[in-house]
Symmetry: C2
Subunit: 256 residues, 2 copies
């Protein structure tokens, strides 16, 4: 199944997964010249491979580790004593896990691999050193954090203002927009190996309810679904129904 | 009623409201030396006073206006063609409305005053010019945005993982923490002139349901409530029940 989700779909993850790097990812969020890209190449990195359902606790001296996702999907929870490990986000290829958390003390994170994952562990110290000295890199990182916070803000709006079916539709549009922004799609089909349990946890619904909503969306001919992929049949209509606004998330950012 | 919410409570808003400035507010989020504070004093500003229930559309050439809240409460919606004006946040004295939106093109905002409000409209151009040239101010603004995004992340977690009663309790703890962080409280009582309608909209519940949860919290002797204020009787127990973590929101930020 992991192989399927990596290689079974037209083009994206399997094909491009190998070349996703911290420089490439940050370059989507701010212009990086040759010098900045070079500096990012010199940041200490270490490949990490996770089997499905492995947990990684990142409690690195008060600063979370940073991982670039090259292949696969992972979820993130915040590890605290006062609450369980509530999943608060999922990450796909081209995302950076722990970027925003690395700016806070005591934002310990727990990563759970939802599929087989290839990650690149990036030295927090090296990256933060560049954040301090390199304007382009600082802007790209700041933009990365703010744009990804837009996703959270949109998801909160959706979860508090929509009925369940629109909530699920909105989330699928979010995932679609995230893939698209990264240039990882050339059709309306995307890999979606996230279980209904986890979708439910992200959106505040039971997995049974998620399943019903998916079926309803299928019956309305808005989506087509296989075990590990989703095809959006009418993304524009879904966006209208849910108020999903790609520009709100990825609209131009002005960090000067 | 507006007078009561401003002056009837021990100390905070009425007493301190007069001196809340952009420099003071940003100073909470990053160290500002005399020079930076001086520079902020020179930013063009204009006092704006709103009666209760007034709407302000901020569509300033692709960049939202920025308002420091000196007195009163206001809500914020994003104005888009594809969705209604869903309220996505509320602002209290010591907050800055439109700060994060000013970094994005086409993040138009609609401000609705929930009480009589005294705002200070701050020149976006001047503030962004300082963002580009003054390190301390840049760090304070970045930290402001990231810390306030923490609030959204926490609220999303609460709304997706909690039953309604804990959701309401979590939101009251959020407001309490926001007041406390600003040094605007010296007891467990805070002004809370936000209607149950709006609390419902923020948390994805009906106002009737919000009302029931408030009553349940009162019956459990966790809060005491008047028309426009809330007293937290056992904030620690409430935090345990809801996993509310002040440090997650306001924990030290490392922008170097």
């Amino acid at each position: 199944m992991e192989d399927r989700s990596r290689n079974g779909l037209p083009g994206p993850l399997g094909a491009e997964g190998g070349c996703i790097s911290i420089g490439e990812v940050l370059g989507l969020y701010g212009e990086l010249g040759a010098e900045s890209l070079e500096a990012l190449t010199n940041v200490r990195q270490k490949p990490v491979e996770l089997k499905r359902n492995q947990k990684v606790f990142s409690l690195c001296e008060g600063r979370a580790d940073i991982f670039v996702v090259k292949e696969g999907w992972a979820s993130l929870s915040h590890a605290t004593s006062t609450r369980g490990q509530d999943i608060c986000n999922v990450f796909m290829p081209g995302d950076i896990i722990g970027m925003r958390e690395s700016f806070f003390e005591s934002h310990d994170i727990v990563i759970l691999s939802l599929t087989h994952c290839k990650l690149e562990k990036v030295s927090v110290d090296d990256l933060h050193a560049l954040f301090k000295t390199n304007d382009e890199i600082r802007k790209a990182i700041t933009s990365y954090v703010m744009v990804n916070d837009n996703i959270t803000i949109e998801r909160l709006r959706s979860c508090t203002h929509h009925r369940s079916e629109e909530r699920v539709a909105h989330f699928l549009l979010e995932v679609y927009a995230r893939f698209n922004f990264k240039g990882l799609l050339n059709s309306n089909v995307f890999s979606f190996p996230v279980t209904q349990d986890i979708v439910g946890e992200l959106l505040g619904m039971t997995s049974v309810h998620v399943s019903r909503c998916m079926t309803a969306l299928e019956q309305k001919k808005l989506i087509r679904k296989t075990r590990s992929s989703i095809k959006l049949l009418q993304p524009e209509e879904m966006a209208r129904n849910t108020g999903f606004d790609r520009d709100f998330i990825y609209g131009h950012i002005c960090l000067g």
